[in-house]
């Protein structure tokens, strides 16, 4: 397969000759043109009247007396449904001639007060890939079914993953699957960044990365929009945090991003966690850990793990789980003992 790309490179059509005169003429013409002014100022100027009207409408709505609430019939249990896609990579094989593996799977998570249902390793697969264009390949290594981690003590099983269903009764609202953080109530969490930080510190201590991680988890949870915005603002104020501004992700979706330094993994150092949220809703679009320096032949800014948020919604029906998978059965992880 790798040879195919090399063959294709041989079939490259000849590059056109650069017309130096035209190139320099164009440069002179282009640099004589005006440049765009910062978008923010233009937007503020353009939408200022609309903003004033909006504020007046909001004030009128807020100050009007609320109508009496109609009596609602008993409604079914509300669940917060998250469908995410997780991808991560790991360096495997002979440390002198390593290659990479990709873990790619989906997680369906249904969360309600005191309970959660999770389908993990859905549509999951582990695939091998060369680290560079001319790098070593899994095929060159004889296509082994399991491959050793570089710098780790486990093996990685190549191929499809088996889905598993987990139902647990927890007290309050548990954050992500691997997090120990739980809240008795999400509604009572502060919607002001400094107050929210104090609340999160009581759970994970005064550690910028752990506070940031928990705030990121809150952003994907069933919280109010103002709490979600406060969590994002909180992350921006953490030590070493970097506001990424407007970014394009996932097939040209646009969002605003923030990055915080992350601890090294057993294989990668110089890692940062980046979160991109939808500026309209505040809901997350993607969270990824990227390396900030080139490592193992992988370029800087390469994601080593990534969560794409495919669905985040409140639903009034019971969780949908695969029928042929035993609930709370054994999980066949692709990472196994040597």
């Amino acid at each position: 397969m790798e040879d195919l790309l090399k063959d294709l490179a041989q079939a490259k059509p000849p590059s056109p000759e650069v017309d130096r005169d035209r190139m320099e003429r164009d440069l002179a013409r282009i640099t004589a043109l005006p440049q765009e002014r910062p978008v923010r100022k233009q937007l503020v100027r353009r939408f200022a009247p609309l903003l004033v009207i909006g504020v007046v409408i909001v004030l009128a709505v807020v100050l009007l007396p609320a109508p009496p609430q109609p009596v609602q019939p008993a409604s079914p249990q509300k669940w917060w449904h998250e469908l995410t896609r997780q991808r991560s990579l790991m360096i495997v094989g002979d440390p002198a001639a390593p290659y990479g593996v990709y873990f790619d799977s989906k997680t369906d998570r249904w969360l309600a007060a005191n309970q959660q249902v999770t389908v993990i390793q859905k549509d999951g697969e582990v695939r091998a890939f060369p680290l560079t264009r001319d790098g070593n390949t899994w095929e060159n290594a004889g296509s082994p079914a399991t491959v050793p981690q570089v710098g780790g003590n486990h093996l990685v099983r190549i191929g499809p993953m088996k889905p598993a269903v987990q139902k647990t009764a927890v007290s309050g609202f548990q954050m992500s699957l691997h997090s120990q953080a739980r809240f008795d109530s999400l509604d009572s969490l502060p919607a002001e960044p400094r107050e929210l930080r104090k609340a999160l510190e009581t759970i994970v201590g005064n550690d910028a990365y752990r506070i940031g991680s928990l705030a990121m988890e809150l952003i994907s949870a069933n919280v109010r929009d103002d709490q979600r915005r406060a969590a994002f603002e909180l992350i921006k104020t953490l030590d070493g945090a970097r506001f990424l501004g407007d970014v394009t992700v996932l097939d040209e979706r646009r969002g605003i991003g923030v990055a915080i330094a992350a601890p090294a993994t057993f294989q990668f150092s110089d890692v940062e966690t980046q979160l991109v949220v939808d500026p309209q809703t505040g809901l997350p679009i993607v969270k990824k850990d990227v390396i900030t320096t080139s490592q193992f032949g992988l370029p800087a800014q390469m994601p080593i793990s990534e969560v794409d948020y495919l669905l985040l919604e409140q639903v009034g029906f019971e969780p949908i789980v695969p029928q042929d998978v035993p609930v709370n059965g054994e999980v066949e992880s692709p990472i196994i003992e040597r």
Binding site: M1, L4, L5, K6, D7, L8, A9, Q10, A11, K12, P13, P14, S15, P16, V18, D19, R22, M23, D26, L27, I30, T31, L33, P34, Q35, E36, P38, R87, L89, Y102, D104, R127, F129, R133, T248, V249, L250, D251, E252, V286, K288, L298, P299, Q301, M302, P303, E306, D308
Partner: protein, 157 residues
């Protein structure tokens, strides 16, 4: 201004090559010029590694040019290419535009996967999946009877 001129002179040949391979040599210079005009206007957004960003702009202009014309310009290839090369190009052109783009960004324009992903506006992981599938389809296209019979007729003519 100096920074922009440096990036311009450094990236111009590669943007031109990209435009030529996707829109033909006749439109390539105009697309390249327009790419840098847009880049100049948005210079505040230009990342330090500017090439993928520039190719992303060029890609949008190529698409716009395709929408405006009903026929694509044919690229002239040297007549002395051997059959394997001709066959490979034919197999490539039988693939979807998206597959061709993924493969040529790596094989012809020499981008790393992360850079190519940036051009296409997708994640690197998504790019790897697309690349893997595109390679598989290119391989399959090379093995179809169409190409076997073409190879035979080439030998006997």
């Amino acid at each position: 201004m100096e920074d922009f001129a440096t990036v311009y002179r450094e990236c111009y040949p590669r943007v031109l090559a990209y435009a030529a391979s996707h829109a033909g040599p006749r439109l390539a210079e105009d697309i390249t010029s327009e790419t840098f005009t847009i880049a100049w206007r948005k210079a505040g957004q230009m990342p330090s590694n500017a090439l993928p960003w520039l190719l992303g702009i060029a890609r949008n202009l190529v698409r716009a040019a395709h929408r405006q014309t009903t026929t694509y310009e044919l690229t002239d290839f040297p007549a002395d290419d051997d059959f394997a090369v001709i066959e490979l190009r034919a197999a490539l052109s039988s693939l979807s535009e998206a597959d061709q783009e993924v493969l040529t960004l790596i094989a012809w324009h020499g981008l790393a996967a992360a850079e190519a992903a940036q051009v296409l506006g997708c994640t690197t992981a998504t790019f790897f999946v697309r690349l893997h599938r595109a390679r598989r389809r290119l391989q399959a296209a090379l093995w179809t009877p169409k190409f076997d019979s073409a190879r035979e007729s080439w030998k006997t003519s």
